[in-house]
Amino acid sequence: MTNHWNDYQHSDVIMAIGGNTAENHPISMKWIGRARGRKGAKLICVDPRYNRTAAVADLYVPIRPGTNIAYLGGLINYILQNERYHKEYVEHYTNASFLVNENFSFDENTGLFTGAEPDPVRNATKYSMQDWQYQTDAQGNIRKDPALTDPNCSFQLLKKHYSRYTIDNVSRITGTPIDVLEQSYSLYSSTGQAGKAGNILYAMGITQFTHGAQNVRAVAIVQLLLGNMGIAGGGVNAQRGQSNVQGATDMAMLYHIIPGYNPCPQQGAHPTLADYLARTTPQKNWWSNRPKYIVSLLKAFYGANATAANGFGYQWLPKLDGLDHSHIPAYKYMRDGEVEGLICVADNPLVGGSSSRAKLGYQKNLKWLVSIDVVENETASFWKGPGMNPAEIDTEVFILPAAFSYEREGEKANSGRWIQWMWKAQEPPGNAKADLWIVNEMFKKLQTLYQAEGGTVPEQITMMSWDYDGPDGQIDIVKVCREINGYRVNDGSLVTNFVGLQDDGSTACGNWLYSGYYNNLESPATKKRIRETEGLGFHKDWSFAWPLNRRIVYNRASCDLQGKPWNPDAPVIWWDAAQGRWVGNDVPDIPGAWSFEYSTENPFIMLPEGVGRLFSIGYQGIGGLLDGPFPTHYEPADSPVPNLLYPQATYNPVSQRFYEDHTVETDEERQRYPHIATSYRLVEHYQSGSVTRNQPWLVEMMPEMFAEISEEHAEELGVKNGDMLIIESKRLYKDGEQGHIRARACVTRRIQPLMIDGVRRHVVGMPFHWGFMGMSTGDSANDLTPSVGDPNTTIPEYKAFLCNVRRA
């Protein structure tokens, strides 16, 4: 989130799209409710189902799964055609005026941007991005047209790109009635004026698509056009589904990054530390500090073994091979016999992963598997799963019993980036241990083994600095916190925040973004529990928000060019001319050394060009998406209809497709799987359900796997509420045999058939919480979902796929 939960109270219009906040983040409704109660805010819910958020919304917008870019593109077009945008903001705080290379274009027949070429490695399309550039003058400065009329400026290109996204066209694609589209566009775009705040909140119904990253980009463009970034009550607000999915991402539990959103080194571009820093450090703005963060990270990793002479140990960091190593391909490598071992910490991909039944078989290729969890889950006990014969499975399985959340201490970062401390209330039962204890002991054993016996490049393990034991020989969490926060190498003193980090090896810091969260031992910021008694709900003395305890990022954009808040009723920061500095209710997102003028020209400090991107490209090595500068409507990989906007296009041509014959491609298959399916969560259960399906209170409330279908659909199928259904997808079709899952029919008016380009289509909704283990068992919706991914993130397309449904 760019903003935070309590900040919702300042919104005038809230759009919940691709996320059922009343069900999955119920307490968010407290703050949405406060905005409605206090200032008459309106809530719009855009979702394929009339869900619990829709039930309390002012306006419900039905939409076909997988067509968010059509919907949001229509909103962008509406804003531009009706001049609903915030003119001063767009002109000065975005790249609207930037001129783009004249060779850049978009082909409305093929749906491709300039530079498309075959990618034989992935059997897909890729882009040569050489024409996706700003025009520059002889000095290298970006050329601009402040009047926004040049046909090659970002603003005019944006207008042209979305001119096809008329309300009529959008309605044909999304199935949304025309009058509802108009109402929602009119209501949401009413926030495009100074003093009004529009808030877009979303979850996996935006991200889990083959065009998921572009969905988020479309949200960002809307928010930039309406001047909703940086202000109270605005923002692009990703509502996280797990208590520390934000924090685990910050700590880079992802193959492509190292802590603090720094890229993982690549063998081609980054053979040495000097190459890495040269290629990833822009000349201007915040990321020009990257060398300080990287060298401090290497000092945290390798301690005294990291010296200027050995590139601070850079050669011990693994280098990527240019291929994808996320969840979907990692399981494919397992299928192909390359992966021997799996360490799975509180994760359960055999329920939560895409095409989960296929993965069950792939795990037979493992030599060993370590599962660290509070309960026995499907992934650990795959050898007990349906169709498995234990006598034929050679995998050794180690299950390490872990502590529940209140049985350990440490911090978790919520969606609003608040790093909140959890105090330990009791010991874990029996021989269960906290994960921090487990990882410490596990690595000490490994390090000792390599010290004793040597091995292949033992230094990679033995040179890693690992000294976290307290006087009792047990893990001391303060030592870990200290290393993440950062300290001076010469005397061990804690740095106040990341401004104190250096690139010469004199400081060590495990994650620059967290620097300041544990900046003193007596009363660390993350443990603060002082509520604000008056003010705007920023709660600056409650925990610590990254970065620098800033509660709203890019908050320079909350003020006009003179430094006065656009909205005097909810001022975030402002320029104090008498003092000659920025002051306010939040920590200004402006480096102290910047002049007033420079801050006005660079409100988006993380970008080298300093302004928000309507047209988005990688500039000085920062940002940019692989599938185009503008979000473009492509169908999901499994789709019942052609691409109505671009006749020769279908699904995202750059998307990640790992399995041949995995998605619906032919008309015969479209007839075999005629219905549109989507998956979702329930408030009573959590993710793969391994924890909540073992709790009697929750199981009593939500006991069984079900599928929601419309009354019309039920009548066609001859099915009554409560009957058993059989649901099939292409993923369960093998060698002429069709597999299926079973689910109880929930016949409901919450799901309505949609008219897609004049044809009535049925939608099927399924929760994904069930598996074959635990107190409540049931079939997994993810047996049906395709393992295709977004080109930028490789997130699987869980939220839109095709299925067939029949009576059991």
Partner: protein, 200 residues
């Protein structure tokens, strides 16, 4: 507060409202009947709900080292004492009540290290030291055979020190400190197949 509890129920829909009722209900009973005994001699510990990304506050009441009650933290600025049905049930993750209303350990909770040998149809209970020693050996065996030390990139020898033979998954359920150490351990092993629920 500008909004009454009734408004909150209207806005949040039935389930969330029922959940809020659970949380508030406990306090109400505590005020009017003999119930306070359950938490009267207990110590309070503050924790954060382990489920979604809102980050609601929970108070655990602990007596003799055992949690006897868990409920919404009224001082918490986001949740202000309220919790959803999962958060309200968090006690149930570790304790269930027997027929006489006494708490006992939820039988689903793992309390021992378990090991399944190749081709076996059951788990055996083992101790920590054995398991950690054996796991270290498995990691070392796999890593030592599969680590790619250098590759040729356009005629230049590049040190890469990676293995494609070990996958690490997780975890959004764990703390920042835990994840930081997981990341360090992964990169020390040369692991590049690394992912968690942000992408799942």
């Amino acid at each position: 507060m500008d909004m009454t509890r009734r408004d909150f129920f209207k806005l949040t829909g039935a389930t969330a409202a029922a959940a809020a009722l659970t949380a508030v209900g406990v306090r109400k009973v505590a005020a009017s009947t003999g119930e306070p005994l359950r938490i009267k001699y207990s110590k309070e510990y503050h924790t954060i709900c382990t489920y979604c990304g809102v980050g609601c506050g929970i108070i655990c009441h602990v007596q003799d080292g055992i949690i006897v009650n868990a409920e919404g933290d009224p001082d918490h600025p986001i949740s202000e004492g309220t919790l959803c049905s999962k958060g309200s049930s968090i006690f149930n993750a570790t304790y269930i009540y027997d027929e006489k209303g006494r708490p006992r350990l939820n039988p689903a909770r793992l309390t021992n290290v378990l090991y399944r040998a190749p081709r076996s149809d059951r788990y055996e209970v083992r101790d920590w030291d054995w398991a950690l020693t054996e796991i270290a050996k498995r990691i070392k065996d796999t890593r030592d055979r599969t680590l790619v030390q250098t590759v040729d990139v356009g005629g230049r020898t590049v040190t890469v020190n990676r293995t494609n033979a070990i996958n690490w998954l997780g975890s959004a359920w764990c703390t920042g400190e835990e994840n930081y150490l997981f990341h360090k351990m992964c990169r020390a092993m040369g692991v590049i197949n690394l992912d968690h629920c942000a992408r799942l």
